[in-house]
Point group: C2
Chain length 351, copies 2
DNA sequence: ATAATTATTGGAAGCACTTCCAATAAAGTA
DNA sequence: TACTTTATTGGAAGTGCTTCCAATAATTAT
């Protein structure tokens, strides 16, 4: 139906082998025939058939990405990095979005994307991996790289949540606060755990006590407690404390939660930073709009790097597993009171 | 290397034709052989090779989506609709993101996605189409469906921008405002044009004059003026008017611009709705957080429907072109002053 | 029981490529 | 000039599937 290398071969008076060779820039074809073939191919407006190529080469030139939709802004930025990088390499992206943390859908996506001849490799994003994950997929024929999640046995690109939380808390400390609370998401989430660790470490290492009463974690399952609602109820709980026991500053484990916390404060006629200083986490688009001091993550870069890691893995299947961790950075805006000279850069701190 | 239908055929003592027939649920194969083959396939953990199938069937079972990244939340929601629908149909999504409105990248994406054997069809999102688009792609072998953009010659799913703008303006009118301004994006954008038309129509049809001085459009090219900055400068310009000529309410052509406008007001110590009422457009996530009254679009539904349209087109290539338009709806929050009884539903209005 | 249908089945051909091998042509060497 | 060596070249085989056609087996009708 459409033009194939056979058409080109006939028209140019050569064999299909030769056509294939010039189209793939193989050596050992005389310049005259090469030019002739190229001209015919161009005249006929030839386009290779992707699937036929894939079949013959046993290579799809596409990589699959499984991403939870709710990661939202993170998702978008990382994806952009991935795509910009991947285009330069001639690969395509097969997208598998995940609604909520639906294990069944995850399974089906994973199965599909690791199916023979569909993609060369799979990237998993921000996923809490099932217990049997490693055992099940370790020996699958597809490279798997983890982005923003971790497992010892797979290549991963992560961001150091502990360091980020440490930086956020340290910032509050350096601003002179001594009663620093934390509003955390649901501790079943690994990032939530790590952010808590960073918070606690910053307190201890700077001679401040860790006070149970100033720490509120969420039991909400939806989005693992990384939601506006979760932030709201945690803050309400926090404000239940007697006036003089309240924290003067709070590190909130995500910007959306911070949004909720802020509106709880508003409902109590409290303002940030005047009444309570707030640091968020994530630097979502919103944060900029409302002047939220927060922790930013190099999402675009992570995307770019993760493609690089995937390609490495594709060309060297037996290389040893690597783990790369990015350091997030503090972004100072208005919700803590802006005191430039006292800003702390996380890069000075090694966890 | 991996298990093929030949392995199954051998093991089950039948021919490959038979294997293929049972795997594809073709009739005319005895139940005993069918069961035998199925068992062997299961025991061998057989997976069909996607590319080989595609090649033989001349069908990829994937559809390509070209989406500008900056559409952000819209992008995400529509995509979710698409994917939920498409999964039930056994298709995959190939994603081509667009950075800004880069015509060159658009061209290359389109070329790639319409390449033989890569995808069965292409969906284009929120794109200002180049002039030579129709001429160039009308007779390409791939179905193309347009989402949130329009061209006479291609199937499209859009949302009625004029109706949305009308509803927004009408809401302001019904609240008693008489000096209603509009802050628009760059008029080169079709949605910007239509939103302007809706604004103007609402004014005229309700006996209010259209006043040039109360209308500010943007000349900014980035994001076609749908940006926070654009909103900010437009509002500043608006506030340059003498006190008594200022509008008492403003319809802003997008929520991000509204964010900018709101912060310009804040810089002038003005508040919404007390000093000036504001309606936005888009209902981005942010809008909910800041209580912005705005116009919401059924993004998820659009995604679902667009897949449906694509499938129709795939099964009937010569059917006539269809255009579907969704009616957006007014979402009343706080930036106009909340007066429930006077809320106007756009569904009562036919453009 | 025999002929005529109808239901299964095997396997070749085709899908559009790549790659390898043998064959031919060109160039180099003595 | 005759013999190697090297550079091109054509085309068969292979990639893993579907589908069509002819052949065989099972049913039904006579």
């Amino acid at each position: 139906m459409s033009v194939t290398i056979y058409d080109i071969a006939k028209q140019a008076g050569v064999g299909v082998g030769t056509v294939s060779r010039v189209l793939n820039n193989h050596p050992n074809v005389s310049v005259k025939t090469r030019e002739r073939v190229l001209k015919v191919a161009h005249d006929l407006n030839y386009q290779p058939h992707a699937f036929a190529q894939g079949l013959a080469r046993n290579k799809t030139n596409t990589i699959a990405a499984i991403i939870p939709f709710f990661t939202n802004y993170f998702f978008l930025e990382v994806l952009q990095g991935i795509q910009d990088k991947i285009l330069t390499l001639g690969y395509d992206i097969m997208l598998y979005g995940l609604n909520e943390n639906d294990p069944e859908q995850f399974e089906s996506h994973l199965l599909r994307s690791t199916q023979k001849g569909r993609a060369d490799g799979v990237m998993l994003f921000s996923l809490r991996l099932p217990d049997d994950f490693a055992e099940k997929y370790k020996h699958v024929n597809h490279p798997i790289v983890l982005v923003d999640c971790f497992h010892q046995d797979f290549d991963s690109i992560t961001v150091d949540n502990k360091a980020g939380a440490y930086a956020a808390t340290k910032h509050l400390i350096s601003l002179g606060h001594e009663r620093i609370g934390m509003i955390n998401a649901n501790p079943i989430s690994p990032p939530a755990q790590h952010r808590f660790e960073g918070y606690k470490a910053a307190l201890i290492e700077n001679g401040l006590p860790f006070d149970e009463k100033l720490y509120k974690s969420s039991k909400i399952m939806k989005y693992d407690g990384f939601s506006r609602e979760a932030g709201y109820v945690s803050m309400i709980a926090m404000l239940d404390l007697p006036m003089d026991e309240r924290p003067t500053a709070i590190f909130v484990s995500s910007d959306v939660q911070a949004m909720g916390a802020l509106s709880a404060m508003r409902d109590h006629n409290l303002k940030a930073p005047d009444d309570i200083a707030i640091v968020g986490y994530d630097d979502i688009e919103l944060a900029q709009h409302i002047g939220l001091t927060t922790i930013g993550q190099p999402m675009y870069e992570m995307g770019v790097l993760s493609v690089g890691r995937m390609l490495d893995r594709l060309t060297n299947r037996n290389g040893s597993v690597t783990h790369t961790s990015f350091t997030p950075k503090l972004i100072i805006r208005e919700t803590c009171g802006y005191r430039k000279t006292e800003a702390v850069s996380v890069t000075n701190h090694q966890v």
